[in-house]
Amino acid sequence: MVNLTIDGRAIQAKKGCTILDAAREHGIYIPTLCYHQALKPIGACRICVVEVKPGPPRPLPACATYVAEGQEVVTSSPKLDAIRLELMKLVLINHALDCPICDKGGECELQDLTHALGVSVVDLEAVKLPPHKDYVSELIERHPDRCVTCGRCVRICRDRVGALAINFTLRGYFTELASGGLPLDCEFCGSCIDICPVGALINKVFKYRARAWEVTRTEMVCPFCGGGCSYELWTKNDRPLRVVNYDTALLCGRGRFGFPVVESPDRLKTPLIRENGGFREASWDEALDQVAAKFKEITEAAGSAAIYGVGSPRATNEANYLFQKFFRTGLGTHQLDNPGRYTYVQALKGLAAVFGFPQVSGVEKVAKPPLPFHSPLTTTEEAKASGFPLVLGKLKDLPKADVALVVGADVTPELPPLGWALNTALERDTFHLVVANNRKTKFDRRAHLSLRYKPGSERLLIAGIIKSLLTAQPEWAPTVIAGGFDEFKENINKVNLKDVAKKTGVPEALIKETAARLAQAQAPAIIFGSELMGQDKGLENTLALADLFLLVGRPGAPGSALYPVAEKNNTRGVCEVGVMPEFLPGFVPLEGAEPGPTLPEMLDLLEKGDPKAPQALYLLGGDLLRQLPNRSRVEKLLKKVPFMVVQDAFLTDTAKLAQVILPVAVHAEQEGTFISTDGSLGLLPRALPVNGVRPDWQIISQIGSKMGFAMSYASPKQIFAELALGMPRWAGMAPKNGGAAFTAEVTGQFVPFETDISLPGRRPFTLLVGKSLQHSGSFTTHEPCGTLTITNRARLGLNPADAQNLGLAEGDFAKVTSSQGEISVPVTLTPELPEGLVFLPEHFSQPAAQRLTLNSNLVRVTIQKG
């Protein structure tokens, strides 16, 4: 700690913090303009000048001057006030005085400063500059005449988002914010809007809808990906208007512009019951009675195992917990699964095989009743934990890693916050980024090593890296205590590095260098995404990475961990609360009972017409037809199910096959919690009216009660309390908090993995079905989401050379044929894709990418014009 005085007050500050940080911590006001807590200070505006003794005989910027022992700081004096006043006059010299129509009015830092510093007249004059306003760009409007050239937007775009889409043009007095003389063509995350201290950047979705002081603000978790960001939702007259993250200003485009999905006109408003080939609107009582009666009838006729449930990575922990309780306690079966089975669950199974299931000890109940959505458990001093959740990293620790290996993930579209964390890490010179992907992704530009492998060859590449490591250092011992190493080594010895280089397309030298980097790393992180998990061999891919982590990972070092991307807001939560046949809540393996079939096994049973095949399906949201590979097969099989209930907010293609559709609350219409990709708890409070729909948990509870199960709850708080009581690993968990610390005991077992990478078929192109930056599942593809103005439909990404050979130009329609089906889709020329690889986003129902796939997100296709 450092002792100093500020305005005569003796204070203690942490070493390495700035005078501004120290002053703010002790409630001393220093005016600022270009400073933002989420960015590195640049000391450009000089409004925060203070006098420092001992120091140079001139005022210093408080935001960029570090505290020192014995320092005497004066924050306000006639001299400083005069400097600030003069600076403010210079800032205001050509400022557009349009506060009454400026969207920032009421929350403008310049307005506040003008009041605080008492600037009443600007007695300076300068040439008026023509304001080059930009009304053309999508979603973001620019008013350079309101700009104070603080550079915050430029810095957040460059340092955090990594898009480098806006910058200053010209210089001196003429400096203006610009985007290269063209309308914005960026990620459209809008972070620049919220970091702007003035109204130079305006959110078009929010423009003119309300004033900052008229709105009700509710802090909540963002439900558009597994990142677990939190934001404030602004509502007025029960309508959502805007979301803002005041902490870091960072949100992605889906988070910032996706919330209008709540007001989509295609939302279902009342329950629907199938009748005479169509649907008719029904009352809640009628619909719920019918579901309960039908479920009862089926269980009486065919046993309770005849009902199969599919949970949802969109729904809250509370809803999913009740859902599994409905099956496990109510019906007494384990006939349920979640659609993450095709991606994230594959990774979890692989990690569990290598690192074991979670074991927790030393947890006790807290003495007094916990606050709502706080775990009623706490850890004792001897609290210990083991198992795979301990090697899953936290995003805030990622920047502490020294090497990050990114495999099979286009980081930003998969999980925007992961991209921000990587950008933060990249600010450190000692950090090394290795990006391996089948195509050029955003982070390839900043990667120290960039590996381009052939689609689907991830596990062989990892085998090559391991082999190279063990060849270069034969005495290498795994850095994590693990069994089965000798056997594993024998297996790896069979791998031929030349062969790997040939089959994966990655030069041997690059493989060797990657291995060497990982071997030297003191805190290596391994990041992998759904591109790799979503293959039919996703489990094998994860095993390869988990084995690599046993070899080089240092779980004791902060940041050194595995980072599998949990794609949706609650992909991890739906697994943690036990919506899987083989795991009870908390990943407790089911013992003493036969687990039900997994989702793919259930579909197989339906295909075979097996007597064990379900007679009724209960789907908790999730458009299976859009998400699951081989759409036509899934469609055919779902049609075989005699009775299907779907809880969804929209009439999805899957819902159209149902007998009863129950409309649910989305976003802030419901209360509940999510578990983010890094395991922290996000709280969703209710901020909007439900308008006739019901939250998932309430519907499940009502159906359960009607069937005679003891499942009535007053609120999600009560469900959370019950749920968290049974989750020792959640001890100490509270909103925005990942829970108490355990003494970690990370051990593992090497598991051999398959290195065959053949992709069936002979068609010339490989299609990858993946994620688009602007969309999250199908949730953001409904009007009036702002995300649709950027990416309004599916386009087939195609290398320009391939396009030329096929005679296709941008926007032309291509006929894509696989062994499973055929679709017609406009092409977009994408130089980032290598020749022979084409890309289609998975989010849209027309054309449906999954019509082409077989059992993986990769499939061989033929492309023709037309």
């Binding site: 898009a163 480098l164 889409a165 806006i166 910058n167 200053f168 043009t169 010209l170 210089r171 610009a178 985007s179 290269g180 003389g181 063209l182 530009r445």
Partner: protein, 151 residues
């Protein structure tokens, strides 16, 4: 102006595909074509792997780069302290009138570009006008007109 100009590809090939060569490339293109067209700027960005906005910021920051076509001859009228006192302002106005072009712009026939500069370091010759690489010292409106007619 040279009779033939180099192909843009030939200029690009002079430098490796690394961001640090942005300014060198901008300079070479500027020297060859007298300005940097939007198409050339885009090609340079692709070559060195720098986002367009960054290159735009650099190109507009330095006065030696122009994003608009420049005239065959560049007239730079000095408006530094001495030249200003000696009537440099009147010289600019005369040029604007005679050439029918505003300062900072190029005549329609692409013959002349008129610019003002803040001191060329030849105060003893004030007021100074630079025409291409030549200094016209102790310039007056008639002497300037005469010089321009010669071109």
């Amino acid at each position: 102006m040279k009779a033939t100009t180099l192909e843009i590809d030939d200029i690009l090939e002079r430098y490796p595909k690394q961001p640090q060569h942005l300014i060198s490339l901008l300079q070479d293109v500027q020297a060859e074509y007298k300005y940097i067209s939007p198409e050339h700027l885009a090609l340079i960005c692709d070559h060195v792997g720098v986002p367009l906005t960054q290159a735009w910021a650099v190109a507009t920051f330095y006065k030696s780069f122009s994003l608009e076509p420049r005239g065959e001859h560049e007239i730079k009228v000095c408006l530094g302290t001495t030249c200003h006192l000696k009537g440099g302002g009147r010289l600019v106005e005369a040029c604007e009138r005679d050439l029918a072009v505003a300062r900072g712009h190029t005549t329609e026939d692409l013959r002349f570009t008129l610019d003002t500069v803040k001191c060329v370091g030849a105060c003893a010759l004030a007021p100074v006008v630079m025409i291409d690489e030549d200094y016209l010292g102790a310039a007056s409106i008639p002497s300037l007109q005469k010089r321009l007619e010669k071109l």
